[in-house]
Amino acid sequence: MLDKIQRIKEKFESEIKQVQDLPQLEAVRIKFLGRKGSISNTFAMLSEVPKEIKPQFGQGLNQLKKFAEGRYEALKKQFDKPKVDTPVLDLSLSGRKPSIGGKHPLLAVADEIKSIFSSLGFAIEDGPEIETDFYNFEALNIPKSHPARDMQDTLYITEDIVLRTHTSPVQIRVMEQQAPPIRMIAPGRVYRRDTPDASHSPFFHQVEGLMVDEGVSFADLKGIIAAFAHRMFGKDIDVRFRPSFFPFTEPSAEYDFSCVFCRGKGCNVCKGTGWMEISGSGMVHPNVFKSVGIDNEKYTGYAFGMGIDRIAMLKYGINDIRLFFENDLRFLNQF
């Protein structure tokens, strides 16, 4: 009978030596020390043990139990300890980066322009890119034989339908719909028959501006352009107006900003002049008012345009307009 204790002990020892981790240890515990484990089972046999060896057997069994529990506890402690060989976090490794989205740079600049004019009380309007000859030319005081049509080489869909050459037709559409006072801008894509190169694209983007009310003067036009220049490029930007010609404005003016790179001192970008040409503007021509039925005795107005592409190129220092439309991710991801 006593050798039974010895056998259990040997078996326990051989099995516990194999134990590698907590679950294995647990399995061994259940097998030997569990409620139905072999050590517990052996205690149950105590009643059947002959009297003479009972004390010895009991003592032996207790020692075995103690021994087994001791080994179990010791090992459990060991496994419970944090593992010495757990790898340390390598904090130099890159994190899980979520993908970065973002606005196209040209449209981000358009947003900036829109928000400046919104804050100055201008509504934002939209119009079709394919326009009738009437809206693109006739209503803007550019009849068919007008030499000014040569200034804008036009792409035609039919003889009377064109890809709009400027955003000015939106002026007409808005004035047809609304009575003065009107204050609006119309950003959008326009088209010209230009062969693409670093500074030309057959499609590009303009913002048209229009204000019509009683007593609007050239002084207001000068004021609004200056307000825009200061908000867009900084308080130190100067604005210059030069006489020019557009059939839909009279007087007409080109306006320039002092160079945003050298702040007017003269550099390569502005070819030493200190100025950068921005776009055209002027006082709405009486013929335009006539074509939309606005009383030109009562009302006066100004209109201006600006090139979004050009402003974006100035803002980011981009020297090739084609970069905007290639959608090269190495380019887009910079913004």
Binding site: G101, G102, K103, A148, F203, D220, T300, N327
Partner: protein, 792 residues
């Protein structure tokens, strides 16, 4: 248009330096695009005399010349055929530096040493292109520095951008008038003084009759005889070269010179070729043909003004002369035309003919009908001086309805209102008079050369630009007194764009003009195409944004970026419905490559259908688009049928979502799968107001139930969800498929779909019993409707 500083000074006196003048003219509306010294500096080029010319022993086209600089003689190899002994030439010595930065070195050419170069005008930067060496017509002293000689009277060239309203300033005299207005100094025309041959009257040579007085209101001519055609003098050649006109011979050069000086185009006919002693001006007949002096036969557009003699047409009026009456080397007598044509006629014909000349450019903008005779006489006097001509007495001039100066009545207060100024009437009158207008009692009389001044606002601009725009007041924007109404289109497009940006997507922006074959991948019929495209690559307006996005994918794959997620918003061009093509705003998105780049802690996984659908679902929920529904896409198009769904709202298809056909991608050289969706934003705007009301959030606990059905492979999981949604009642808050399983434990052709449901009430805690009732109802329904069994 170009003029030179010294040339201008012959007509008006002023103190301004070239740069100061350029600034003042720019401020007055004459933008100086370029200002540069006429003679570009060069060094060590001296006057040389060619003493001897021999053939090069080893090259047919070269000569070996001996050139003297007065003290020494140099051996120089020359390639120009016009080199001859005795010529006085510009000789660039070894060490000379020419305008283009070209340096002259001692060189051995085919075995013979050359010590320098005999120069052409082109090499000295005098002409853009020239043939042969420059043989001076003046006998300069050998050894003198050529740059010093040419630049003795330093001159500068101004290149102006003249706006199309200012036809009068396409001439030296026009600019001189502007300088007079700016500086206050008077300008004067050149004196014209020549004797006419009193023996003969012009009427004996030519009779002029204008049949179409609308197309040609005035036609005048002089007969000039006994001309000697030769080169024009050096000074005239130099002037013409300076402003970009190539000297030809004295007669052509004189007509060009007067054109540039006075802005009046002239045309010289060979009088011997003019039949019947008459000129008739009429408009063209249908399909009439005519050969112009560039040897091209042209079909004339209707209503083209034609100049005819007694028998035939001899010129297209105001545009180009005819080959049949051109002045040639043997011409002795000429008929010199000076006319005024209707700008609209010239504009229309020159456009239709595709013929644009110095003459047509001026006529179509409007010349001065009363400047015709001055130009004729100025040219005649130059021909007397430079071609030994005799001028026949009198001018043949048909001018049935003379043009008189126009008048503009103006109100000072209205001009001040427009400019934001408070100028006095006197100041306004005085300023306008500086331009050659006469002003009396608020009526301005406009000389006939100012075709652009028609109404009061035109005078306001004249006043403004003479005062200088910089000196006009500026009204600072201080407060906003006017509120802008919200624009719905703009607002909606912004919401859509913000939703896409919120999904961490990159915004693209691409061309709206496509190759026709590209466009046809997306739409076969009713494409909107361009009548006069720039190139074959840009003939058709995009019917889908996907063309541009596929180009973008291809572009990036070619540059080694193959994981791409892009979206774009823009107009597409569908078809003609009304007077204008349909051009709705669309949103499109593409996905291609891997979901995320491979990294140390993640493996890359290719994008599939559920990625693009997920983006679309998130987008719809973001823009508050409710009631949307997906159905299987069953049309043939550019999407793969078995991996594509249509997006329906109120049973209207407003978009597609799925995988693009491999052959469409291959057109763009894309081999990897591309998933896309596109949505008609104008259609969507009619279906949602993009605005959402707050939905109350329950404060009571929810109950969750999972169940799994085994059913036929062919039944879409979406149908089951739909059925549950319809029948579960309003306590069902959320519903989704969390597992789809196929495997050995299931019969063939069956799948298991596991669904999780969340029940919740806004006003109470649900009892288990309540939820179980609904749950059992759902199980029964699904088992019956889809022949499904509950999986346990």
């Amino acid at each position: 248009m170009k003029i030179t500083y010294n040339w201008l000074k012959e007509y008006i006196n002023f103190e301004e330096s070239p740069q100061q003048l350029a600034d003042k003219l720019t401020d007055a509306g004459f933008e100086v695009e370029e200002l540069y010294p006429l003679i570009q500096p060069f060094s060590r080029v001296v006057v040389g005399k060619v003493e001897q010319v021999d053939k090069h022993p080893d090259a047919d086209k070269l000569t070996v010349c001996m050139v003297s600089d007065g003290t020494e003689t140099y051996q120089v190899i020359c390639g120009a055929p016009n080199v001859t002994s005795g010529q006085i030439v510009p000789f660039a010595k070894v060490g000379a530096e020419l305008p283009a930065g070209f340096k002259i070195k001692k060189a051995k050419i085919r075995g013979v040493v050359s010590y320098g170069m005999i120069c052409s005008k082109e090499e000295l930067g005098i002409e853009a292109k020239s043939e042969g060496i420059w043989s001076f017509s003046e006998s300069y002293e050998p050894g003198k520095d050529v740059y010093q000689i040419l630049n003795s009277n330093a001159d500068y060239v101004f290149d102006f951008f003249i706006t199309p309203n200012r036809a009068d300033c396409l001439s030296l005299i026009g600019i001189a008038r502007e300088v007079a207005a700016i500086t206050g100094n008077p300008f004067k025309y050149k004196d014209i003084d020549f004797g006419e041959d009193s023996g003969n009257s012009v009427d004996n040579f030519i009779k002029i009759h204008i049949q179409d007085t609308e197309g040609c209101p005035r036609y005048a001519a002089r007969v000039i005889r006994d001309i000697t055609i030769t080169d024009s003098p050096e000074w005239m050649q130099a002037r013409l070269s300076a402003i970009g006109i190539r000297p030809i011979n004295n007669i052509v050069d004189i007509t060009n010179y007067v054109l540039m000086e006075l802005g009046q185009p002239l045309h010289a006919f060979d009088l011997a070729e003019i039949g019947g002693n008459e000129i008739n001006v009429r408009t063209s007949e249908k399909n009439e043909k005519f050969t112009t002096l560039d040897d091209k036969e042209r079909v004339l557009p209707e209503n083209t003004v034609m100049i005819c003699d007694g028998n035939r047409s001899v010129a297209i009026g105001g545009i180009m002369g005819g080959q049949n009456s051109e002045v040639s080397g043997s011409t002795t007598d000429i008929l010199l035309e000076s006319a005024y044509f209707n700008p609209e006629y010239i504009n229309r014909s020159s456009k239709k003919l595709g013929l644009n000349s110095e003459a047509s450019q001026r006529f179509e903008r409007g010349t001065d009908p009363n400047g015709v005779l001055r130009a004729l006489d100025r040219a005649a006097s130059l021909m007397v001086d430079l071609a030994g001509a005799t001028v026949v007495k009198g001018v043949a001039d048909d001018y049935p309805q003379p043009f008189f100066p126009g008048q503009i009545e103006f109100e000072s207060w209205r001009i001040n209102r427009l400019l934001g100024t408070d100028f006095s009437s006197e100041f306004i009158s005085e300023t306008l008079q500086r331009l050659g207008l006469t002003v009396e009692n608020s009526i301005a009389t406009i000389p006939t050369f100012r075709v652009d001044l028609k109404i009061e606002v035109d005078l306001a601009e004249e006043l403004g630009r003479l005062v200088n725009y910089a000196n006009l007041p500026t009204k600072e924007v201080t407060e906003i007194t006017y509120e802008a109404p919200p624009s719905t289109t703009e607002k909606r497009l912004n919401l859509v764009r913000d939703a896409m940006l919120g999904l961490n997507l990159r915004e693209a922006f691409s061309s709206s003009m496509l190759k026709s074959s590209e466009a046809k991948l997306f739409q076969q019929k009713d494409l909107v195409s361009i009548l006069n495209p720039i190139s074959d690559d840009m003939t058709t307006m995009r019917p889908s944004l996907l063309a541009g996005l596929l180009r973008a994918i291809s572009f990036n794959i070619n540059r080694s970026t193959s994981d791409i997620q892009l979206f774009e918003i823009g107009r597409v061009f569908k078809s003609f419905n009304n007077s204008l093509p349909d051009q709705p705003h669309y949103l499109a998105m593409v996905l291609s490559g891997n979901r995320q780049p491979e990294a140390w802690n993640s493996t890359s996984q290719p994008i599939d259908f559920y990625d693009i659908k997920g983006y679309l679902e998130s987008f719809c929920s973001k823009i508050a688009l409710d009631n949307f529904q997906f159905i299987l896409y069953d049309k043939s198009g550019y999407y793969s049928k078995d991996e594509t769904v249509s997006l329906l709202v109120n049973n209207k298809e407003i978009g597609l979502c799925g995988r693009l056909k491999p052959e469409v991608c291959q057109y763009f050289d894309i081999e990897q799968p591309v998933y896309a969706f596109e949505i008609d934003l104008d259609a969507i705007s009619e279906l949602t107001n993009f605005e959402r009301q707050y939905q109350a959030v329950s404060r009571f606990p929810f109950s969750m139930r999972d169940l799994a059905f085994v059913l036929d492979e062919s039944i879409p999981a979406g149908d089951i969800l739909e059925a549950i949604r319809k029948n579960a009642g309003n306590l069902l808050q959320d519903l989704n498929v969390f597992d789809v399983f196929r495997g050995e434990s299931l019969p063939a052709g069956k799948k298991s779909v596991a669904i999780r449901m969340r029940f919740q009430s806004l006003d109470r805690t649900l009892s288990d019993k309540e939820v179980d009732t609904i749950f059992r109802k759902i199980i029964k329904l699904i088992e019956k409707q889809f022949d499904a069994t509950l999986r346990t």
